[in-house]
């Protein structure tokens, strides 16, 4: 198995590693870097639990090789709070009860951030379609939608 040196910026920190060509980005994040907030929920790119931001876009890290992320910037759930202050999306999920078991939550939040970047003032339908690559089994999505609306409002106010 050939090995490759890669350099990525993860949550603002440069990280280097030598990785096998077939190593999935999600395993690189979870096992090589030890950032276990990114989860794995399926093997068909369906559930979105592994969603991270790669160069600002929401991607399913189970379907990208670590070597493909070489030179890129990655944001995971661990990188959302800044200086002990929660990101508005984290605050929204807490305040609107947008999570129950918490397993899909990191991926949901990162998809929501990518959505709000493209569309700072989404309708409910925009939010539902924007999160349609992420499955949640606990919440019925009602409060996830509210959490995203909460964050959207807060982010617009901060602008």
């Amino acid at each position: 198995m050939s090995k490759h040196k890669i350099t990525v910026t993860v949550n603002g920190q440069p990280r280097q590693a030598e990785v096998p060509a077939r190593l999935l980005l999600v395993h690189f994040i979870r096992e090589t870097l030890g950032l276990t907030g990114t989860h794995i929920g399926c093997d068909t790119t369906s559930c979105g639990a592994c969603t991270v931001l790669l160069n600002g876009r929401a991607v399913k890290s189970c379907t990208i090789l670590a070597v493909q992320a070489n030179g890129g910037e990655i944001t995971t759930v661990e990188g959302l709070a800044q200086n002990g202050k929660l990101h508005p999306i984290q605050e929204g999920f807490h305040m609107e009860h947008g999570l129950q078991c918490g397993f899909c939550t990191p991926g949901m939040m990162l998809s929501a951030i990518a959505l709000l970047k493209q569309n700072p003032n989404p309708t409910e339908d925009d939010i539902r379609w924007g999160l349609s690559g992420n499955l949640c089994r606990c919440t019925g999505y009602v409060n996830i939608v509210k959490a995203v609306q909460y964050a959207a409002e807060k982010l617009r106010a901060e602008r």
């Binding site: 096998p20 369906s46 009860h97 078991c101 918490g102 397993f103 999160l131």
Partner: protein, 782 residues
């Protein structure tokens, strides 16, 4: 001073902080020094003889450390394990496989990639055997036999009620409606799959088992029973259930992978991690439902229900590995008489073996209650339509009345409390029922298809009273241990295990209410068998009815001791003290008081003479009865004649779960439950072809609702406290999953009844609806 946040407060959840910051601790996050990986070779056949297993090529793969087969386990008599239902289940096969995706060989390797390489390189020769996947065929003479160790494919017969009286009542009825209803096999598909890390310490003969389990103590006992003969002794087994990414019943059973991981850890002396892939989870973990029900409901000339008869064939797969209470092989199916007042019913269930993975576990439901509710709520709707009566009015006419509670049901339950009329009336008011009926009539005149469906369910949850309920002989109590610290803060531990329900918050709120200590100062712990008191775990909506009750009673015991301490501090007689919110004061002198914090400090610094120091209590709560949450749901659908697509326009859910501990969390549970009612009604189904090949074995084929398909839920409430529960709570996690599917089907059939449509089995897919429309000449041509 922090807010107390007792009952009825929508306090934000205490557990959220770690989950929103990526600091949850789920099974896959656990990494131990020297840990290796287990992966599993699975059978491509649904029934086959294993001719030869060749691991020689796999053994040469770098990183592959070894293999475990059924023959290896047979040496230790660990190749079979008992199920909770007096049956047995293979850990690994020694000669034949019984279902597609069955575990055949465990492969151990230094990392997950090497383990997967090893799995791919193991070569197994099979000789296919005849397969039976249809339970009706399985029960016919001459059917292929699924189990060599059994006389036939018939597992058991169970019945309840009065057969003769029911036959007579149905013969004499003015109207009888009949319907075959199939509730298909589905899978809970929690977003986290199952897994474990087994860590055997050969020096101390101690096993630590990190495990995705809803019932850590019960699993510890099962491990001791399964493997006691090879040296696993219960005092040396510690089961730790970390954060659980959804359970819904799928994390109650003991899966073969767990036992293989333990065996591997014992044999190799290293920690062994096994995490299922989603495909393995969907293809091999226990399934729910698979009930074929022949239902008959009878009424007199005035439209009063007189009798119910249901004959069911249950498909359990190759073993009965359900997780029902021991005396209830068909679970609590006898709740099937529903919310209605009549005296005569009979139901029987015959269970069959087929070449499928084990079935019969729950899907966010208390032991077969969804099947029962679906049957009665469909039949009531069919009967109302058949008689030309409005389905709401028909229900209101036949409901058990408020003043009839406690109500003895014809199949033996004592419904503790209810007000069914109020719940349905509220739902009708919220949705504007009468106006919708007018709109429907106008639309029908124009040829548009609109339907309104009602489901007025009664659940039975909170298993359960010790004289009826046990698992492996262990009574189904649950427990709380509460310790108050000198500074007036507390820790409480429970035998249950949250999988998203928010126990860290709600249990703290119960204790806050009883003790006056702010909920944020009460730490709740679950899931470690070394520290938590013994309990049967979280499923079947039992946590609040059992452990929640235990918390309240333990707190009241603490308060009784606190009274003694307060009397000592206030130099007053105990009987002269009055408890209010967070303090005892002297009757008539509210300014002479001691708070719970004062009392806690004194318990350690200045206990009264003759009173034991400290302030703590442990209580094992044995419920006197089950609880009976209920509700009424109304759904409005519009059907596209061109595509068969059903659009859920509105869905109103009025739930009565008794006292609401945290209304925010209750509502969240209902939203989630409704979505898991929507899912099987419209999308989810596991099917098999005649050779036992699974359809729906991954998330590409087994469709969970996303935010796009999921309707916008509207919720309402009535509150009828349980008279026997210490805080009047009934449990709510599953009500909506149980009640919702019938409302959807009733709405769809209501839209189509005038065309001659009487029933559609779930899932109601666009294709199925379009076929029905076409058959009744109602499909749009263009």
């Amino acid at each position: 001073m922090a807010e107390i946040n007792g009952l009825g407060k929508s306090m934000k959840r205490k557990e959220d902080a770690r989950f929103i910051q990526g600091k949850g601790n789920y099974i896959e996050d656990i990494v131990l020094p020297g840990m290796i990986w287990l992966d599993i070779v699975r059978s491509p056949y649904a029934h086959a003889r294993i001719v030869n297993i060749d691991t020689s090529k796999a053994a040469k793969i770098p990183g592959v450390l070894g293999f475990i087969t059924g023959k290896d386990l047979e040496k230790y008599n660990l190749h079979w394990m008992p199920t909770l239902m007096s049956d047995r289940q293979m850990v690994l096969p020694t000669d034949t496989v019984k279902y597609q995706a069955q575990e055949v060989v465990g492969v151990l390797a230094t990392d997950r990639y090497a383990a997967a390489d090893g799995v791919a390189a193991v070569e197994i020769d099979y000789e296919p055997l005849p397969v039976v996947v249809d339970p009706f065929k399985a029960l016919q003479p001459g059917a292929p036999k699924v189990r060599e160790d059994k006389d036939s494919n018939h597992i058991w017969h169970w019945e309840a009620g009065d057969r003769e009286a029911t036959d007579r009542a149905i013969r004499q009825a003015a109207t009888v409606v009949k319907q075959r209803i199939y509730i298909p096999r589905i899978h809970v598909a929690s977003i986290e799959t199952c897994g474990c890390v087994a860590n055997w310490d050969p020096i101390n003969k101690h096993l630590t088992m990190y495990l995705t389990t809803q019932a850590p103590h019960a699993i510890r006992t099962v491990i001791a029973l399964v493997a006691g003969h090879v040296g696993l002794s219960e005092e040396n087994i510690r089961v730790i259930s970390p954060d659980i990414g959804g359970g819904f019943g799928g994390k109650v059973p003991v899966y073969p992978g767990y036992i293989i991981a333990i065996a591997a850890s014992v044999l190799l002396g290293r920690p062994v991690k096994w995490i299922e892939d989603r495909s393995e989870n969907l293809q091999a973990d226990s399934f729910a439902r698979d009930y074929h029900m022949d239902c008959e409901l009878a009424a007199d000339g005035g439209g009063r229900i007189t009798a119910l008869r249901i004959k069911t064939v249950a498909d359990h797969g190759y073993t009965d590995a359900a997780a029902n209470p021991s005396k209830y092989p068909a679970g609590l199916f006898s709740i099937c008489t529903g919310s209605y007042d009549y005296r005569t019913a009979f139901t029987e269930v015959d269970a069959a073996y087929t070449n499928k993975p084990p079935g019969g576990i729950a899907y966010r439901c208390s032991f077969r209650v969804t099947e029962a509710v679906h049957a009665i709520e469909r039949m009531v709707d069919i009967l109302a339509h058949e008689r030309g009566e409005d389905p709401a009015d028909f229900r209101l006419k036949n409901f058990i009345k408020k003043e009839q509670f406690p109500y003895k049901s014809p199949l033996g339950w004592e419904f503790d409390s209810g007000d069914y009329h109020a719940a349905l009336q509220k739902a009708m008011d919220m949705i504007g029922y009468r106006e919708l009926r007018k709109e429907q009539a106008e639309k029908r005149a124009r040829g548009e298809l609109m339907g309104i469906g009602i489901s007025s369910f009664t659940e039975v949850v909170g298993a359960g009273p010790s004289h009826q309920f046990d698992i492996l002989g262990i009574k189904m109590f649950d427990s709380a241990e509460v310790r108050i610290h000198p500074t007036g803060k507390a820790i409480a531990r429970f035998g249950t295990k949250s999988q998203g329900q928010g126990h860290e918050t709600t249990y703290a709120q119960i204790l806050a209410q009883e003790l006056g200590i702010p909920a944020e100062h009460i730490k709740v712990e679950e899931g470690d068998t070394d520290t938590a008191p013994y309990g049967l775990g979280t499923y079947a909506s039992r946590s609040t009815p059992t452990a929640g009750a235990a918390a309240a009673v333990a707190a009241r015991r603490i308060r009784e001791k606190a009274r003694k301490i307060a009397a000592h501090l206030l130099e007053s007689a105990e009987e002269d003290l009055v408890w209010e919110v967070d303090r005892f004061y002297v009757k008539g002198s509210p300014s002479r008081f001691k708070t719970i914090q004062d009392i806690a400090l004194a318990a350690y610094t200045n206990p009264p003479p003759g009173v034991e120091a400290g302030l703590e209590a442990t209580f094992y709560y044995d419920p006197p009865n089950m609880t009976f949450p209920f509700g009424s749901y109304i759904c409005v659908v519009d059907i596209d004649r061109g595509t068969g697509q059903v659009h859920v326009r509105r869905f109103v859910a009025v739930d009565d779960c008794g006292t609401r501990i945290n209304p925010m969390i209750v509502e969240g549970q209902i939203h989630g439950g409704l979505t898991m009612g929507f899912a099987p009604a419209f999308m989810e189904q596991i099917q098999y072809d005649e050779n036992g090949n699974i359809y729906g074995g991954n998330f590409m084929d087994y469709l969970l609702p996303t935010a796009v398909e999921t309707p916008r839920w509207e919720t309402g409430e009535t509150v009828t406290p349980s008279p026997h529960h210490p805080i009047g709570a009934k449990g709510v996690g599953e009500s909506a999953t149980v009640g919702a599917p019938a409302a959807f089907v009733n709405a769809v059939v209501d839209a189509l009844w005038h065309l001659g449509v009487r029933h559609i089995d779930i899932p109601i897919t666009p294709d199925k609806v379009w076929q029905v429309l076409k058959a009744h000449g109602a499909a749009a041509e263009e």
